[in-house]
Symmetry: C2
Subunit: 341 residues, 2 copies
């Protein structure tokens, strides 16, 4: 039953000064048609009364929340949290906020978050779709409601919207090529869920690189991991090590899996990189502290976030005009460390 001490409004100031709220508004917004005297009085009093504009009212007026929704599979991974960093750094100077949703790789959750954010809460979306992508109706619905959407990192082919990717193919190709050039001949690949565009591109690059260098493509050297954490690397690696002719190199879908993989390999008494080379993907900050330190493919995560956000804001500010959709690609880079020869 406490009386909520409501904050100072433009009306309070107006009453105090015996002017209309409109005058106060104009004075505070540097409208030209205000006498110097009035303006100064208003500004002075506003400061004294600690006036702060009510963004809730402004939002309603402008039909804009100055908030965007970001949906990622998870935020605890280094990859996505540093993408978010990039997004945030672009948004902050613009005074735009970001609400984050985690899909946990679940289609249901993803669409429920979209729905929740949709109710006028959000001016646009930045989404990296879940790999459990049954369909993309919930995302298509955004287009119908004229809410801008930018897809990043993971593709969703049926959607014709702005997209920002890392050139997975290039990164993976570099990695496999490097293994070949350092003398590996029996190169295995621990791939990720095949519904993911990223996993598909990396797999294709793996195959293409082998072909280019005339190495045989063996189905048993391609194993799928069901996730991106170290524990997801264990079983696939065990499978590879149990082969009659085990690989002399493993290119993994990401650093997490690579770490699990190295763990298994070392545990089996096999030396890295002498007997088996390992390459990851992501350049997680932990990766260089393992022994051996992990060779990996660095991705421009921060830039990925920045660029995606920049493109989204452009859409929002141009009222989602019908200009051509943009598909951008950023370039990854091989970082050679101790886990390769």
């Amino acid at each position: 039953m406490s009386i909520k001490k409501s904050r100072t409004t433009i009306i309070d100031i107006a009453k105090e000064l015996n002017v209309s709220p409109a005058t106060v508004s104009r004075a505070l917004n540097n409208h030209p048609a205000i006498s110097v005297k009035t303006r100064e009085a208003v500004i002075k009093l506003a400061r004294k009364m600690n006036y702060q504009p009510n963004l809730l009212a402004l939002n309603l007026l402008h039909k804009r929340s100055n908030t965007i929704g970001v949906i990622v599979p998870e935020i605890t991974s280094y990859f996505f949290s540093s993408v978010i960093n990039g997004i945030q750094d672009l948004l902050k100077p613009l005074g735009v906020n970001m609400i984050i949703g985690q899909s946990n790789e679940s289609y249901e959750e993803e669409s429920s978050i979209v729905r929740a954010f949709c109710s006028t809460l959000v001016d646009g979306f930045l989404i990296s779709p879940t790999f459990e992508a049954k369909n993309s109706d919930h995302l298509k619905a955004l287009a119908d409601n004229n809410i801008p959407l930018v897809i990043f990192d993971r593709d969703c082919e049926e959607l014709e919207v702005d997209k920002v990717f890392v050139d997975e193919y290039s990164g993976a190709f570099q990695a496999v090529e490097y293994l070949i050039k350092t003398g590996c001949r029996r190169i295995a690949h621990i791939t990720g869920p095949q519904s993911l565009s990223t996993a598909k591109h990396r797999l294709r690059a793996y195959k293409d690189a082998l072909i280019k260098y005339g190495l045989p493509l063996k189905e048993e050297y391609i194993v799928e991991s069901s996730g991106f954490a170290p524990e997801n690397g264990i079983e696939p690696t065990n499978k590879l090590l149990a082969l009659p002719e085990p690989p002399d190199a493993i290119f993994t879908i990401n650093d997490g899996v690579a770490i699990g993989s190295m763990y298994v390999i070392k545990d089996a008494g096999i030396s890295i990189p002498e007997q088996i080379s390992v390459i990851g993907f992501d350049d997680d900050p932990h990766s260089c502290y393992f022994s051996p330190s992990l060779t990996t493919v660095w991705q421009p995560t921060y830039e990925l976030g920045m660029l995606s956000a920049r493109i989204l804001m452009k859409r929002i500010n141009t009222n989602n005009d019908t200009s051509k959709i943009r598909i951008e690609k950023l370039f990854p880079e091989l970082i050679s460390r101790g886990s390769t020869k």
Copy 2:
């Protein structure tokens, strides 16, 4: 110049049905004084026209944004990102959103974020203060504006608000006690920035444990790291190893630093845990994949986030009444692995 196809409002429905907007509102909100016939007609049409309430308008009306602000030093660390997970999971079923700000351990940034979030955008704050805490005027100002605030993980003593902590002292004491019990006698501590309550508590526990077991307290065994990443562990460890009588155990401020520390130790050809035991703090998911796997102190991060959010929501929903402030403590747990004897 495109015409923004504005969404269906309650007024559109009202016109279509020749009733007043008030009637539509009541019909949709199950108000008792509405005839069944009208209600059904309204609901049917609302569904057909894909009506979704305009939260912007509701926010203004209720003077509530259903959004809380969360400020953490950084989100890329496992610790904070999993706290955020807990917060989010509590908030989601309540339909409350969260905007995140990163202080990057900077006082300036922290207060600028508070200011930005303040302008009616946010119903309450969840803050883990930066260690560059010059003062807490910006946080005190929240109290003046009657905006609820819950502090978590890191204390700010001059503030009388709800707080949720991990019992750092207990966790650190367990760690040091464990080292002693496994035969270590020259135990060093890499502590964190001393403006942090967490670092202070852990340091105190370290000292108390040594005293309890009659071990000498040597100043040169206490070294300060300037951050929480592996690289911050390097210099402090070098210092320790260079001592005339190097330690036979190192208790570090967190897993990140421990990882850097182990890196240096192994590099120096010293074996872990035979010659030096290492214990971290946090239980980062990577920690068990290092060799040796890292003994550490697990913190209930997820629960920390959940509880903090729960307490904040209580404050918000009780209109920030003057009930007693709550100080809660959660308990950490030692996880023994390969880096200790």
